[in-house]
């Protein structure tokens, strides 16, 4: 059975409530419970396998094997224990939510989110791949954010949600870093490999950094001091959320991770100190603050913090059975803390407040709830026969077993006993204060109504489970904890001997904690008064202050860097290029690669000088735009000459045609734009830009010189050798374009087509005349088209078309081809537009341009697809010989059909661009759209 199903069930099930918005919570809860229940049953079916010490199950699906990222699931004792907790308590919470949300018909969002959360949590505990685990990890942070901020209108809820997101996802970021390092150290992200590589990982040079990062992730998630602040503020969430996420499951994710990675990371001095000390601090801070909370959920939240600290401390200790004690207490805590939250939720609903100074004497109104909560509170306090009693004594026993380091031998037992005292005190407080302690004071809702008996059933089940653990701990241990323990240790482990727990010292410590707790609670009033005089520290305000400051700081930085000036950005980018590339180039020692230079002839020298002069002329005279444009044309012509000089006739022809078109387009544009550029750059800016430009020029020159003088290794020999036998053409450039790299060409003509259509769309509703009339009214006087030009142009057209047909046909063997022929045709037709006017020429066009582009692209594509019909890959060409009278023998290749597509696209695109730019010239346009 695929393990993925366990996660997929709640994940897909989350859609159900989303589709049933507005339904009653009763229906929604039943629908949501189904997938959760199924997952639970599936997991239970694995229980015998895990109990009998069966093999770890790993199921894998390749996803991105090159990155070490696979969809892989893993089920062992540890994962199973957590998954059972997640689904089991999840089902009960769903049941509880049914009553909690009774009467509201807007709870669909809650049920969707809680199922999503369940899926994410299951993902964490069942992942085999650490990166995959991390995805689920972040998902829990996100869903938790949405659930804490469930009451979106409530300012406190939004703030609490943001706080938890900032802290937990910040930790997630650290965890990502840690896990990448861990994967690097272990050589894989698969847990099976990582867990076996413990020695290598602990000897890894960045072990310290890696451990710190991973711990940061775990500490933030599990609300360890000083990151615990988000948890109390998360209590703005609806109570089912608090009971589920913030006591039983999500906050345990950090603990799970550390238990999971225990074999890989633990048992070093660094681990011991970091984990144990953090656990100790959290334990004490949580217990102390919980004592003084007046808010029921606040008290429970801080007590959760304290218990999380306790488990963390156990994870750090490293004594033989500490890990078992940690897991045992983790289960106990989930079982007794969830019902206490549920109790708080019911009392809150019944009385309208959670303030324990007002909520008193509830036993009269809710006797059954009182009894049930009594069990859970007793377990939390660690009264004899209760589950908490056992786990507390396990803790005391383990703390006494510690032999190194020196400070810990004394400090830790005293510390945990003291914390035990506090926990007894706050456990008594939440029970006694709520259900006894005199009369209720000034309740918003009166009289408090007892929750229905059916509504109490989740609490009944959890209380029973708590009792069960207390009564038969051996069975629970061997069924659940021992497989988990052995999975976390990666070794077979002994069973825990609960009968030896009654050692005298742990017993004394328990008695001390119990008596001290009762005394502490008894004298609470003076202590509360004392506490009230302590300066109040509001974490929310500190957090807010930090957030405000960091946002303001980053805003300032952003504005400094990004002030909306394109020139500024460009100069930053180009300067960065100069610096980064320049540093690399400076390391080059031999600029001259040693290949003999070819001789220089005076004509080439002259052309090069003219080319440079033209380019410099453009730059110097760029304020006067028309001369600059003409000089630009000169530059383009010399580029053409360069291509011709160095054996690239195809390039020369293409460049020539393109140059003509480009200059025409820019001329058109210039007739609308100002004829001069203002001289507005400061001297400083010109100097700066010139420096960057010269440095870039120098770099490019040096680099290309280095390339030119180095021996060449080219793959072109393949093309030269296969051009005739494979492609049926002697013009290798053209064969490459239409055959060897036909797919590239297809992509490129597609880009060309898109650019042309974009130009069409842009010019479509561009009304230039409003703007230009004011600057130059004489501009729009229609001039007759010169008679000479129009006469000659009409004569030239057939000849030009003939030339282009010739160029097209011979392109496969001699310089030419679809690109060049298309440009020649386009140039000839452009001449008609210029000579005869837009309207005149448009009327005589045989085809609109956009369909022409489409037809060209389709021809090229279908030529490529055609080869599929014959069982060849996309764009395979075939060719044969054909004899035509007069022209002689020539080859007919399917590549020519492809070239025809290229030709049509080039003609269509070029004319679409030119005609639409030209349309802007006419005062009102030709009346309808062109192309």
């Amino acid at each position: 059975m695929p393990l993925a199903l366990i996660i997929l069930l709640p994940l897909t099930g989350a859609c159900l409530p989303a589709l049933m918005r507005g339904q009653s919570s009763r229906l929604l809860a039943s629908v949501s419970a189904l997938p959760a229940l199924f997952s639970l049953l599936l997991l239970l079916s694995w229980l015998p396998h895990a109990m009998s010490g069966g093999e770890t199950v790993v199921q894998q699906l390749d996803w991105l094997p090159s990155l070490g990222l696979n969809v892989a699931f893993r089920l062992d004792g540890l994962g199973l224990l957590f998954a059972l907790l997640i689904t089991g308590i999840g089902c009960l919470v769903l049941f509880y939510a049914r009553y909690y949300f009774e009467g509201s018909n807007t709870s669909a969002r809650f049920f969707t989110l809680i199922l999503l959360f369940m899926a994410a949590m299951l993902g964490i505990v069942l992942s085999e791949n650490l990166l995959f685990l991390l995805v689920f990890w972040e998902l829990t942070s996100l869903v938790s954010f949405l659930l804490i901020g469930y009451h979106t209108q409530d300012h406190a809820a939004r703030l609490g949600a943001r706080m938890s997101l900032v802290i937990t996802s910040g930790g997630g970021l650290a965890l990502l870093g840690g896990i990448v390092l861990l994967g690097h150290a272990a050589g894989s992200y698969e847990l099976s490999v990582v867990l076996d590589a413990g020695e290598r990982i602990r000897a890894y040079e960045h072990y310290g950094l890696m451990l710190n990062l991973i711990l940061l992730g775990a500490f933030t998630k599990s609300a360890q001091f000083p990151f615990h602040l988000w948890l109390p503020h998360a209590m703005t969430a609806p109570t089912p959320v608090s009971a589920y996420l913030h006591s039983a499951t999500m906050v345990k994710a950090g603990l799970f991770l550390l238990a999971r990675l225990h074999p890989a990371l633990a048992d070093t001095s660094l681990w011991f100190h970091l984990v144990t000390l953090t656990g100790m601090l959290t334990l004490m801070v949580g217990a102390f603050v919980a004592m003084f909370m007046h808010d029921m959920k606040g008290l429970l939240a801080y007590s959760t913090v304290s218990h999380l600290g306790l488990i963390m401390l156990l994870l750090g200790l490293g004594t033989s059975m500490a890990l078992a004690a940690a897991l045992f207490h983790l289960v106990c805590h989930a079982l007794f803390k969830a019902p206490l939250f549920m109790m708080a939720g019911y009392v809150d609903r019944a009385t309208g407040t959670r303030d324990m100074r007002r909520v008193n004497g509830m036993w009269r109104f809710m006797p059954v709830l009182m009894v049930l909560s009594g069990i859970s509170a007793a377990a939390m306090a660690g009264l004899p026969l209760m589950s908490g009693y056992l786990s507390k004594k396990m803790l005391f026993t383990e703390s006494l077993l510690l032999s190194t380091p020196d400070w810990a031998v004394v400090v830790i037992p005293v510390w945990v006993a003291l914390a035990g005292l506090f926990s007894v005190a706050y456990s008594i407080r939440i029970f006694h204060n709520v259900f006894f302690n005199g009369q209720p004071i000034d309740l918003p809702v009166w009289p408090p109504a007892s929750p229905r008996l059916a509504a109490l059933s989740p609490i009944v089940l959890l209380a029973l489970a708590t009792l069960l653990v207390g009564l038969v701990p051996e069975h629970i241990y061997s069924a659940l904890i021992q497989p988990a323990f052995s999975a976390a240790r990666q070794a077979l482990v002994d069973s825990y001997d609960f009968s030896t727990l009654g050692g005298s010292v742990p017993m004394l410590m328990s008695l001390f904690a119990l008596a001290g707790g009762v005394l502490f609670y008894h004298f609470r009033d003076p202590l509360f008064r004392l506490h009230a005089r302590l300066p109040e520290v509001d974490a929310k305000e500190i957090f807010d202050w930090i957030m405000r400051r960091s946002i303001a700081l980053s805003q300032r930085r952003v504005f400094q860097l990004e002030n909306g000036s394109l020139q500024r950005y460009l100069s930053f980018i180009l300067a960065t290029v100069v610096v980064v590339v320049g540093m690399e180039l400076l390391a080059v020692t031999h600029w001259d690669g040693g290949v003999a230079l070819s001789p220089l002839d005076p004509l080439t020298l002259l052309a090069a000088i003219l080319l440079c002069l033209a380019a410099i002329g453009v730059t110097v005279h760029h304020h006067r735009r028309l001369p600059a444009l003409l000089l630009l044309g000169v530059t383009g012509l010399f580029i053409t000459v360069t291509f011709a000089r160095f054996s690239a006739p195809d390039l020369a022809l293409t460049q020539l045609m393109v140059e003509v078109m480009a200059v025409v387009i820019m001329m058109l544009a210039l007739s609308f734009l100002p004829q001069t550029s203002p001289r507005e750059s400061s001297g400083f800016r010109m100097g700066r830009d010139l420096t960057i430009a010269v440095l870039m020029g120098l770099g490019v020159a040096a680099f290309s010189f280095a390339i030119l003088t180095r021996p060449q290794e080219t793959i072109s020999d393949f093309f030269l050798a296969n051009s005739v036998p494979g492609g049926g053409g002697t013009n290798v450039v053209n064969v490459i374009l239409v055959d060897f790299r036909g797919f590239d060409t297809l992509g490129e003509i597609t880009v060309l087509g898109i650019a042309a259509v974009a130009v069409f769309a842009f010019t479509h509703d561009l009304h230039l005349k409003e703007r230009v009339v004011e600057t130059n009214p004489a501009h729009w006087v229609a001039e007759p088209h010169p008679i000479m030009l129009s006469t000659v142009a009409r004569l030239v057209l057939p000849i030009a078309l003939l030339v282009s047909a010739y160029i097209f046909l011979r392109g496969h063997n001699l310089p030419g081809g679809g690109f060049i022929a298309g440009l020649i045709t386009a140039a000839a037709l452009t001449l008609q537009y210029m000579a005869g006017g837009l309207v005149w020429a448009q009327e005589r066009m045989l085809s609109p341009f956009r369909p022409l582009i489409g037809a060209g692209l389709l021809t090229a594509t279908f030529t490529g697809l055609g080869s599929w019909l014959f069982g060849f890959p996309f764009l395979t060409s075939s060719h044969g010989y054909l004899h035509l009278p007069l022209i002689g023998e020539f080859e007919l290749a399917t590549a020519m059909l492809f070239d025809l597509g290229v030709y049509a696209t080039v003609v269509g695109a070029t004319l679409l661009i030119l005609a639409n730019l030209g349309k802007l010239m006419t005062v009102t346009g030709p009346g309808k759209e062109i192309g």
Partner: protein
């Protein structure tokens, strides 16, 4: 010859980059065109400078490298499409923002 070619390339790059950083759209288009000339020549240079031997089978003993030529050919055509597009963009900006500054607003003074 190689040195001359490299120097020409450097001059083209310098002029292109300098114009690219100017404040008016039309000048930037001029710069872009020069820069794309430079880039095309640079790519072309990776096939080395060979005179009088076009890449046509059977025409001469040695032959110029056809692969950079094919790549540059499409680059030229796409460069043309890009120029056309930028020109229209500049026109549109000029009409809608009523000035042809690259930032869409006429600054009173230079923003350094």
């Amino acid at each position: 010859m190689e040195l001359l070619y490299a120097l020409t390339l450097g001059v083209l790059t310098t002029c292109g980059v300098y114009l690219l950083m100017r404040a008016r759209t039309f000048t930037v288009i001029l710069g872009l065109t020069l820069l794309s000339h430079a880039v095309n020549l640079y790519l072309f240079a990776s096939g080395r400078l060979v005179a009088g031997a076009p890449a046509i089978v059977g025409l001469s003993q040695r032959s110029a490298d056809p692969l950079p030529q094919a790549l540059v050919l499409t680059a030229i055509v796409i460069g043309f499409a890009m120029t056309a597009f930028v020109v229209v963009l500049a026109l549109k900006a000029a009409v809608e923002l009523r000035n042809d500054h690259v930032d869409g607003e006429n600054p009173e003074e230079d923003r350094a």
